[in-house]
């Protein structure tokens, strides 16, 4: 509970932004769904066969799993807010359509007959008689849709539309229950509050209801107008993958770019998605820049065979060259640290046995008690290959990722696999052994953008190149530690680093 409150206080700015995004997506989807479903239902009332068909269609749409639906939409409309809103609209159609249709078609025949007998026009009958009678049912359909939308909108984070889902995803990603809870609770509260508001609309006097509705629309509208105003200066959108490390990096990018050009504003989309996702967003100009790893480029983004045992420099050049050729993209100069698989031992163990490189391990074969993730043990580019490459003779216990750090700090094992920038290395006082035979592929981070963008923004390129060769593995471990364990904001951590290393002038 203590940590929950603490996390909440630290993140309330982010929470407000996420809440606003969540609300925006949800309301947009709801309003559009109403605009589609209500007239459609009115039209269908006089065509029972069509209505039957439409009811079935909307129910089928609703049974599509949300993840599958998002997946289906990506090739059609890309990623971001648009597919998220479309998916939400699709889910909201059924309850609104069904309730409007039933609400109107279940009106007593004698009432309809009376309206006709008094010479009411079709429209007048609809608005004066049918609509008011069906209204309670229509509103209850809208409420059902709203609750559904707000819940499902947490998935919008998966495709870069932001919202409260980012908290949930971050929570899962960082194994941080507080974040997860904050996301989930806020989304539930939002559903309850909005649902109550809609119910209030139903009972409120028309004038009050109209006023409140106007205020809400004005608020959302002025939010939109403000962002349109803010967009008058050029906005560069920078996204990052899931996790603290990319978030720290893009905050550095933002600081560096904005410091060099007052007319440029950088919009950040942290935790935007996974590798291929971001790459396609970049391709479709939905984002302008994101940090990518040299190793990931060669492995998943470009075509071609990869020679074994490349140095870091070779890896970077090959990645840069292939990106330029195949995708007309520019991979700027990489930072120093290599975020790859690594083997780590405690600092104490390292000193005792004077270990520097992985090769050194062969001297102490018999003393080793490795505990490693099942995945690492089983991969050709993991322990299997490593044993061959270094002539190492060990058998590893398979352990859950989180448990192995615990185990090594208690001395039950003394060798673990790790990612070289894991904050746990810092947390548990571990040291990495140098991969002197370049067995592990190199994963150096560097800003990726389209060549067209790079040519058009030489100042941006210049600013970002300031990071080339900077940030060591321990720097990164330290910063990840600050964000993940100490719960500092990525922006602060990034800013402090830049100041400390003289990359950014100024006092704040």
């Amino acid at each position: 509970m203590q940590t929950l409150i603490q996390t909440f206080m630290e993140r309330r700015g982010d929470l407000l932004t996420a809440l606003w995004q969540h609300l925006g997506i949800s309301i947009a989807a709801l309003v559009i769904a109403m605009i589609i479903a209500i007239p459609l239902a009115i039209w269908a009332v006089r065509r029972p066969k069509m209505a039957e068909g439409l009811l079935q269609l909307t129910s089928v749409l609703q049974t599509i799993p949300s993840l599958a639906l998002l997946g289906l939409l990506i090739p059609l409309v890309g990623i971001g807010t648009v597919p998220a809103v479309i998916a939400l609209i699709i889910y909201a159609l059924l309850p609104i359509f069904q309730n409007t249709y039933l609400g109107i078609s279940e009106i007593d025949d004698s009432i309809e007959e009376a309206a006709d007998a008094f010479g009411m026009s079709r429209m007048r009958k609809l608005f004066k008689v049918e609509f008011p009678i069906a209204l309670p049912q229509i509103i209850s359909g809208i409420r059902t849709a709203l609750v559904l939308i707000i819940g499902t909108a947490t998935l919008a984070a998966l495709i870069g539309a932001g919202g409260l889902g980012t908290f949930i995803m971050l929570g899962i990603d960082r194994n941080n229950t507080s974040l997860l809870l904050i996301g989930a609770i806020s989304s539930a509260l939002l559903a309850i509050v909005l649902s109550a508001l809609v119910r209030w609309f139903q009972t409120a006097k028309p004038k009050q209801a109209l006023t409140v509705f106007a205020v809400i629309v004005a608020l959302l509208g002025s939010g939109g107008a403000y962002s349109a105003y803010a967009n008058r200066t050029e906005t560069i959108t920078i996204a990052g993958k899931l996790g603290s490390e990319p978030e720290i990096l893009i905050n550095m990018y933002k600081d560096l770019i904005e410091a060099s050009d007052a007319h440029v504003k950088v919009a950040l989309k942290p935790n935007f998605g996974k590798t291929t996702f971001l790459f396609s967003a970049l391709k479709h100009n939905q984002i302008d820049i994101y940090p990518e790893f040299t190793g990931s480029v060669l492995e998943t983004l470009v075509k071609g065979n990869n020679p074994k045992s490349m140095t870091a420099v070779e890896t970077y050049h090959l990645a840069k060259q292939r990106l330029a050729k195949q995708d007309e993209m520019s991979l700027l100069k990489p930072m120093a640290y290599n975020n790859t698989y690594a083997l780590a031992v405690t600092k104490k163990f390292k000193q005792e046995h004077q270990l520097e490189t992985i090769s050194d391990l062969t001297q102490v074969d018999s003393l080793l008690k490795p505990g490693m993730t099942l995945e690492f043990i089983d991969r050709d580019d993991g322990l299997k290959g490593l044993k061959k490459a270094y002539g190492l003779d060990v058998t590893a216990k398979s352990m859950e990722p989180a448990l192995r750090y615990e185990a090594i700090s208690k001395g039950r094992i003394n060798l673990v696999d790790a990612y070289s920038t894991d904050s746990e290395l810092r947390q548990y006082h571990l040291a990495i052994l140098k991969d002197n035979k370049h067995f592990f592929p190199t994963y150096q981070g560097a800003p990726l953008m389209t060549t067209a963008f790079a040519n058009k923004h030489p100042k941006v390129v210049q600013s970002l190149n300031k990071l080339a060769g900077k940030i060591s593995e321990t720097d990164m471990q330290e910063m990840n530690y600050e964000v993940n364990v100490k719960n500092k904001s990525a922006a602060t951590v990034a800013h402090n680093y830049l100041i400390k290393h003289g990359l950014l002038e100024g006092s704040n």
Partner: protein, 322 residues
Amino acid sequence: MTTAIEFKHVKKDFHGTNVIPDLNLSVKKGELFVLVGTSGSGKTTSLKMINRLEPLTAGEILVNDRDTTTVPVRDLRWDMGYVLQQIALFPTMTVAQNIAVIPEMKGTPKKEIAKTIDELLTEVGLDPEVYRNRMPDELSGGEQQRIGILRAIASKPSIVLMDEPFSALDPLSRQQLQDLVLTLHQRYGNTIVFVTHDMSEALKLGDRIGIMRHGDLLQVDTPSAIAQHPVNDFVRDFFGASRAKNVYDIYVGRVGLVQGYLKEKPAVADNRIQTLDTEDTLRTGFEALANHDYLAITDDKVVQGYLDRQTVMAYLSMHENG
């Protein structure tokens, strides 16, 4: 007197099944015409063809001498009130809003509508202050149908159609509302077509009555003419069946209608004549005849005629065994 509504060789089929073969009928202007018949005889269908809720299969209906199909349906309906058995007040509108439905569409000024509403409510014995803003579900059945009637006559239509408007009401409300219809008819002089399956209601209300069976009009005539000269056994039986379960509960007015009144005041002392209202029962009349020789039957204090013992006995003997 001119004709308000005229059916000319009207034929109606539902999905190829004939319901009304050939209907011919004129309803006079200012008349309260009652269409009576058993359930399924085609009364509702006939009524709905007048305001075009049902299209005709063949023939034509003239309203104020114009073929209804040549009049814009809206104009036709705005000048034709409609009262339903189900009452069917609009449940989301207040009493006042319900009454204002047609005047509002016609563009009558709001002030004038408000004034009309208050007048009408007062006229049917409902205090405007109390009832104006009530919702329909806050009213009793009888009150609801009063509003139903006001809604139909609010814009002073020349014709009002009523389809069994009182058959779902309790006997007391029914009687009050029947009186109300007579009063309003008198006041506004409109043409009313009133559908019912209840012969006693027909006899009470109708200037003329049309008796329907299987889509045919068997007889169209004044109540007393039908009572005295039923065209066939069906009409006679239908008329007979209209008697109250207990013959003594029948109004004395009915006896006069059926048997005929003595028109001359009998030459006896005034204390030998008991004055009764048309709606006093035969039981009261029978008791009165124990120590009087004649009954003077009055309606609104106006003497309609006189009955003697023989006439009453004749009626009883004719109807006691059914």
